[in-house]
């Protein structure tokens, strides 16, 4: 519920900074509305966006924790209750092929669990809107492809989404791993504080270049033109197979939401 009501400090700070920095008058009006939106959502306990998202839960479970009952069920029920009690819109349907209509709240979350040393459980909840997930892409590039090709692929994905992903955007990039893991790498990159640059120099260089090229596109806030198309790019890298260069871009709207708690 907190993730849906309270703007992340980095997101709000970057939205405020972006005002009057090169968007069109209509685009600047959109930025002002987004800053006001965070205040209203927090003070009235309203979701930041009517699309309260599809929830990803990153669970770091201490290996000394003993469970009484099903951890998976507890998390699913907890997420479902948060949506019901918090007046949040459920947007998850039972089956993508056959049940397109009825929202289903029994298994609303994607849960990724990792075992870590210790006796605590850290849960990070990330509700993400459909419009910006739709704009996300992945590719298995040739292993000899260079940074130029990686950058081109990502900038093209952003350009193709136009205003549909709700710019100004936050862009999570995964480079490496395998077909299945690179998407998760890109999604996890969105958890980083976007005021902090990547630690690795090579990833940092790609971030700077991507942010500059994306902002040269001129999409602007709400697609109304100008310089403010993305507020941040986070690149995460991983090992990979000698034959592979997996690249994924997970685009987030201006309402990048997440919250963590430890039990």
């Amino acid at each position: 519920m907190k993730a849906n009501y309270r703007a992340r400090p980095d997101v709000l700070a970057l939205l405020k900074e972006a005002r009057n920095s090169g968007a069109t008058p209509a685009g600047n009006q959109a930025l002002e509305q987004l800053v006001a939106n965070a205040d209203i959502a927090a003070s009235q306990a309203l979701p930041l966006c009517q699309d309260c998202g599809y929830v990803t839960v990153f669970a770091e479970v201490g290996q000394d924790v003993a469970f009484d009952g099903s951890f998976e069920t507890a998390v699913q029920v907890g997420v479902g209750q948060g949506y019901e009690l918090g007046y949040l819109r459920t947007s998850v349907i039972q089956d993508a092929l056959t049940e397109r209509v009825r929202p289903e709240v029994e298994r609303p979350a994607n849960i990724y669990t990792t075992l870590v040393p210790g006796d605590t459980i850290k849960l990070t909840v990330m509700p993400k809107g459909g419009g910006s997930d739709n704009a996300s892409r992945m590719a298995m590039l040739r292993p000899t492809a260079g940074v130029d090709e990686i950058v081109r692929f990502i900038v093209e994905a952003v350009a193709a989404s136009g205003a549909a992903a709700c710019p100004p955007l936050f862009v999570g990039v995964g480079i490496g791993g395998s077909f299945d893991s690179v998407g998760l790498l890109a999604k996890k990159a969105l958890l980083r504080d976007f005021r902090e640059p990547a630690q690795a120099p090579a990833a940092f260089e790609v971030e700077v270049r991507l942010l500059s090229e994306i902002n040269k596109l001129g999409i602007g806030p709400a697609g109304l033109g100008g310089a403010v198309t993305a507020l941040g790019v986070a690149v995460a890298t991983d090992r990979t197979h000698i034959a592979c260069l997996p690249v994924a871009v997970n685009i987030s709207c201006n309402q990048l939401r997440s919250a963590s708690g430890t039990l």
Binding site: L34, N37, L48, C49, Q50, V101, G131, A163, C166, C253
Partner: protein, 177 residues
């Protein structure tokens, strides 16, 4: 900021130019993907619609649930392009304005010109802010669709930008530049 009222009359629509910032009052009807599919299905079968949409404004949105005593939950635009396959049929039927976010297909822009209609955009992601401008809301049709039902909304000065005007001019990237 220009103040306009829905349903929009011909003169008002013709006076709106791409890039104008407007405040919209009056009645609009919400419809998203599934409602569009049903409405166009009914039109294609020659059957009556559950809501008279001639001359009306459609808002692409599915609100969050209202808290007790509140008019509506957070409510902002969804991606308009997903409605593109259905929009020409609705414009032929008599819809005169749409509210959403993002670009439209060349075919939809042509239909907007032919119908003398207008496409407006709201700021995606500002749904708690935009909810303040909704003064009443009730389900008008397709209640079984939950948040995707057709709601009749009464607005008081909803801030919008004219994205595609009745001449087919666009204020949206990449058409604008």
């Amino acid at each position: 900021m220009k103040i306009i009222t829905s349903p929009l009359d011909k003169r008002t629509i013709e006076s709106l130019k791409a890039g104008d910032m407007v405040a919209l009052s009056g009645i609009v009807y919400t419809a998203r993907d599934q409602a569009h599919k049903r409405l166009v299905g009914l039109i294609n079968e020659g059957r009556p619609l559950p809501v008279a949409l001639e001359g009306q404004t459609i808002y692409y949105t599915g609100p969050a649930p209202a808290r007790p005593g509140a008019v509506v939950g957070s409510i902002g635009p969804t991606t308009s392009a997903r409605m593109d396959p259905y929009t020409p049929v609705l414009l032929d039927y008599g819809v005169k304005a749409m509210i959403g976010k993002g670009a439209r297909s060349p075919g939809v822009i042509d239909s907007i010109k032919q119908a003398g209609a207008v496409y407006l955009v709201a700021t995606g992601g500002a749904a708690a802010y935009l909810a303040q401008f909704v003064v009443s809301a009730h389900v008008a049709a397709f209640a079984d669709l939950g948040p995707e039902a057709i709601f009749a909304l009464e607005l008081a000065g909803l801030p919008l930008v004219v994205a595609i005007d009745s001449q087919g001019r666009s204020a949206l990237w990449p058409d604008a530049s």
